[in-house]
């Protein structure tokens, strides 16, 4: 069995789907969580200057979160049942990732207080504190545009998951983000009950319970 090490920050955001895949598959892995201030050292060792990073047998490095998810999913049967189904769930995932990129400045602000260079205080409404301006400019429009489409795609499936054949990594990927939204803006998340329901189902899967019970809460 290969030795896996997953390196990321002490948040869920771009690594949790991978962690869930490992726990679902009951596969051992090293869950390395680097501090935000250790970021600089990572830049020297990560081939893409980013995290997360999957290291296999101490030598092979795979970067880019979506690639890590797809690779692990393939190893542990959490990818699409056929090539076509795989393409279908990948479309959904890429579309969702697009939304995540648009909302990213809000997450960076929330987690680290970082404000985009071209963002001007009071850009939107003079009375609103910075966090509301960030929400209004980055997170809310992204959610409003993309969530309805994601819900439509979910409804078209023959079961509770995005793929007709059953649960895949994309269910982990999307439900984790929906949970993050619920942490930060519950009333906004509640406007998308289908996704909340989907997340509840995904997070009720028996194979994940041990991990979820002991997992530390993080907003994102």
């Amino acid at each position: 069995m290969p030795e896996y090490k997953l390196s990321y920050l002490p948040i869920r955001y771009l690594a949790e789907p991978a962690r869930l895949i490992f726990h679902y598959a009951q596969e051992e892995f090293e869950d390395e969580q680097l501090g935000f201030d250790e970021w600089d050292s990572v830049k020297q060792t990560s081939p893409f200057n980013t995290l997360p990073l999957l290291t296999i047998n101490g030598k092979i490095q795979i970067g880019q979160s979506m690639t890590i998810f797809r690779y692990l999913a393939k190893q542990f049967g959490l990818d699409g049942g056929t090539d076509l189904e795989d393409a279908h769930i990948n479309c959904i995932a890429e579309y969702f990732r697009e939304m995540m990129e648009k909302a990213r400045p809000f997450v960076r602000f929330w987690n680290r207080g970082i404000v985009e260079k071209n963002f001007e205080q009071n850009d939107e409404e003079p009375e609103f504190p910075l966090v509301v301006q960030q929400l209004k400019l980055y997170l809310e429009p992204a959610v409003r545009e993309y969530f309805p489409v994601i819900i439509d795609l979910l409804k078209k499936s023959k079961n509770d998951f995005f793929a007709d054949s059953g649960i895949t990594w994309v269910d982990f990927f999307i439900s984790e983000y929906v949970d993050s939204l619920k942490n930060v803006a519950p009333e906004l998340a509640e406007q998308y009950p289908e996704l909340l329901e989907h997340s509840k189902i995904v997070h009720s899967i028996p194979q994940l319970q041990n991990y979820l019970e002991s997992r530390k809460h993080t907003d994102w």
């Binding site: 850009d123 939107e124 003079p126 009375e127 009333e187 906004l188």
Partner: protein, 219 residues
């Protein structure tokens, strides 16, 4: 006489002083106002992306301080010399500094405008800044810092005005006292002399008509 047009939100905020000055001077002006939700459409008209701005024929002035000074100079509400003008500018800038951030957010959360935004804005504000009770100390701190400073200068002046005679500083301070009263029912008890001062300034005959007819504004 040039054509004057003030452009600001439909609140007192940092737009009320020009309105008071124009009314004091008996000068006609266009008092353009918009509601908060309409701001995104109006914003692009402002070269700085901010308001208020004052149009004087085909010229524009941005920044409320600059507008106030310009109108005060034009209509006889400036200080009598550079030092008086500096003191006026100073107390104006100190206010802006003292009431931003947590104190400023407290004011917004306590205002009726807060209920005009979606609930999840409230949720996120609470997560970042806590509840109203958590923010209040910062606001109280700002109040305890600012108004004694003002009182000190009023005592030094001894004229009943901020400087040697009525100036835009008096209009500004009276306006902010009104806001302070809206935000804290105990303000009157804490600073009774400020209430007296405000009432005196607001009894200025030339602004009576305007004050009587103007719409209520929380801040």
């Amino acid at each position: 006489m040039p054509k004057y047009k003030l452009n600001y939100f439909d609140i007192r905020g940092f737009g009320e002083i020009p309105r008071l000055i124009f009314n004091y001077a008996g000068q006609e002006f266009e008092d353009r106002r918009w509601a908060y939700p309409d701001w995104p459409e109006v914003k692009h008209e402002s070269e700085t992306g901010k308001s208020p701005w004052l149009e004087v024929d085909d010229e524009r002035i941005y920044e409320s301080g600059a507008i106030n000074r310009y109108l005060a100079t034009t209509f006889g509400l400036a200080g009598k010399d550079p030092m008086e003008n500096a003191q006026i500018d100073s107390i104006f800038d100190i206010y802006k500094d003292a009431f931003k951030e947590a104190a400023g957010i407290y004011m917004w959360v306590k205002s009726p405008y807060y209920n005009q935004v979606p609930v999840f804005y409230h949720e996120i504000v609470e997560k970042q800044y806590g509840k109203l009770e958590d923010m209040k100390p910062k606001y109280d701190e700002a109040i305890e810092f600012y108004w004694p400073l003002v009182q000190k200068r009023l005592d030094k002046s001894g004229t009943g005005f901020f400087v040697s005679k009525l100036s835009w500083a008096d209009f500004f301070l009276a306006d902010k006292i009104e806001t302070a009263m809206n935000l804290d029912e105990n303000f009157e008890k804490k600073f009774p002399k400020m209430i007296e001062y405000k009432n005196r300034i607001h009894s200025e005959p030339k602004i009576q008509e305007y004050l009587k007819n103007r719409k209520e504004s929380f801040y």
